[in-house]
């Protein structure tokens, strides 16, 4: 089992630790997962996400290579822009989801911890002439600072004015005197940043941010993976191995928007064929009353036939709902459809609702 460089800090803070993607990670702190979720929605949450991996793609062939490899349009990205994308296989199912930053001298690609090795093999397998690949995960530390007051906090500790970075852009600056790549990105549905910096500075930045928050009167707390999960779930963001996986194609998971059919990319042909044939099942969000839906629970029609399965489910603290993401037969995927989630052997009434349950900050800003 691997540990991040903040492992001892988490243990001393009283965190409940558990394995995640072969790392011993903090699941929640004594504050509790529900309160950690709510702190992130009202002020600032700090997330140790060093288990995430980072690849660098360089060289004259880099742009063409990245564009062909991932589903989303890349050719229009300007230096410092950042964009979410899927990494698909030839079947159109999902190897991983990525955050991609176009830096002046490289493409900086953030991958999920559990998929790092497989992604690395995939990148190398498809590598073309004039492309250099570097796995920078071990020497790079990654912390997310998320919440409505995250940017205010970052402005107090950064050389650059982070508030002047538009959403989904990045920049290199000093944070607490330490050179960092700062992306105005995240995975909680809140405004905020993700920081990349030399791994040996982990404790300095982590405790420095907590101290800066306290001095400035900005409530800033360490947040565990349980709250990270409920934050992303409410905001409608997928977690690989749940809403997306190599057994789930991008279209049934609702990611047509993340596929640029005007360019060539691996998986495009398969997705066009799937689209032509029509989908068999679709990802839906279902709310229930009378229990917590959890992964693996069956979904039934009101007539009692099995129509799908829950891939993620939980109590959502901001919207105060018990909700599940589930794949169901397309006939049952429409908003408002009544169905049941089988909780401990009993069908509990549920209804298909609009996703996301919580509109992410970047969308609120646009609307």
């Amino acid at each position: 089992m691997k540990e991040t460089r903040l492992h001892d800090w988490h243990v001393r803070a009283g965190a409940r630790m558990a394995p995640f993607a072969n790392y011993d990670m903090p699941i929640s702190y004594p504050l509790g997962a529900v309160e950690e979720h709510l702190v992130t929605r009202r002020s600032v949450g700090l997330f140790d996400i060093d288990h995430m991996g980072q690849f660098e793609v360089r060289g004259p062939g880099a742009t063409t290579f990245v564009s062909k490899l991932v589903s989303m349009k890349m050719s229009d990205l300007k230096d410092w822009d950042a964009r979410y994308s899927l990494l698909l296989n030839e079947r159109g199912t999902v190897i991983d989801d990525l955050f991609i930053y176009k830096l002046p001298d490289a493409w900086w690609i953030v991958v999920n911890a559990g998929n790092r090795m497989e992604d690395w093999e995939w990148f190398n397998k498809h590598k073309t002439a004039g492309v250099e690949l570097v796995d920078s995960s071990d020497e790079t530390y990654m912390i997310a600072v998320q919440g409505p007051r995250a940017i205010e906090l970052m402005d107090k500790v950064s050389e650059a004015k982070i508030s002047e970075y538009p959403r989904f852009t990045s920049g290199k600056t000093k944070v607490l005197g330490i050179p960092c790549l700062v992306g105005r990105t995240g995975y909680t549905g809140e405004d905020g940043v993700e920081l990349f910096f030399p791994a040996d500075k982990a404790l300095e930045i982590w405790t420095g941010l907590l101290d800066a928050g306290e001095k400035a009167g900005i409530e800033t707390k360490a947040i565990g993976l349980a709250a990270r999960d409920s934050l992303r779930f409410e905001a409608g963001m997928p977690l690989h191995g749940h809403e997306i996986s190599q057994e789930i194609n991008a279209l049934e998971a609702g990611f047509k928007w993340a596929c640029d059919f005007d360019k060539e990319f691996i998986g495009k042909e398969a997705l066009l064929a799937i689209q032509e044939k029509g989908l068999q099942r679709k990802l839906v969000t279902v709310t229930v009353t009378g229990g917590v839906p959890r992964e693996g629970y069956e979904i039934q029609s009101l007539q009692g036939e099995t129509i799908g399965k829950v891939v993620a489910g939980m109590y959502c603290p901001t919207v105060k709902a018990y909700a599940a993401n589930a794949f169901v037969a397309v006939d049952y995927a429409k908003t408002g459809t009544e169905l049941a989630v089988v909780i401990r052997g009993k069908p509990v009434p549920g209804v298909v609702v609009k996703r996301p349950l919580y509109i992410p900050a970047y969308r609120r800003a646009k609307e």
């Binding site: 929640s28 997962a33 349980a226 409920s230 009378g290 229990g291 917590v292 109590y315 018990y322």
Partner: protein, 126 residues
């Protein structure tokens, strides 16, 4: 970890306390701490008769669902309906406001066979 000195316990971390001719039942401070944030509680219907050792309800935390067991056989006289709106009451006050059910025991002698506060404390320290 708090232990209510006036209650008796099951190894599975339920407590039972006499209240007149009824017995109040809940889960211990140790149990709520081990479960983490409690987000849902399922309780039996009033009037249900449930035997000692049988599951009478479910307490769900952020990460897991746990059955809760009858320390003493009896008939459910009252359920803590306030928990539906605020299940985290169990985290904050497991021995008082966070009680689960009140029962009329069918065999009051069963109460005396439960763990004493001292024995329960010894068990959770192991």
């Amino acid at each position: 970890m708090n232990i209510d000195k006036n209650a008796r316990y099951l190894q599975s971390h339920e407590w039972a306390r006499k209240e007149g001719d009824l017995i109040v039942i809940g889960i211990s401070d140790h149990a709520q701490h081990a479960l983490g944030d409690i987000v849902f509680v399922e309780l039996p219907k009033k009037g249900a008769t449930i035997a000692k050792g049988k599951a009478f309800g479910v307490v769900e935390s952020v990460k897991a669902a746990s059955d809760v067991y009858m320390p003493v056989s009896g008939t459910v006289e009252a359920t803590n309906d306030a928990l539906a709106g605020d299940p985290a009451t169990i985290n904050r006050d497991p021995y008082n406001a966070g009680w689960l059910i009140k029962i009329k025991p069918s065999n009051p002698a069963e109460f005396d066979s439960l763990l004493s506060p001292t024995d329960y404390e010894a068990q959770i320290k192991e």
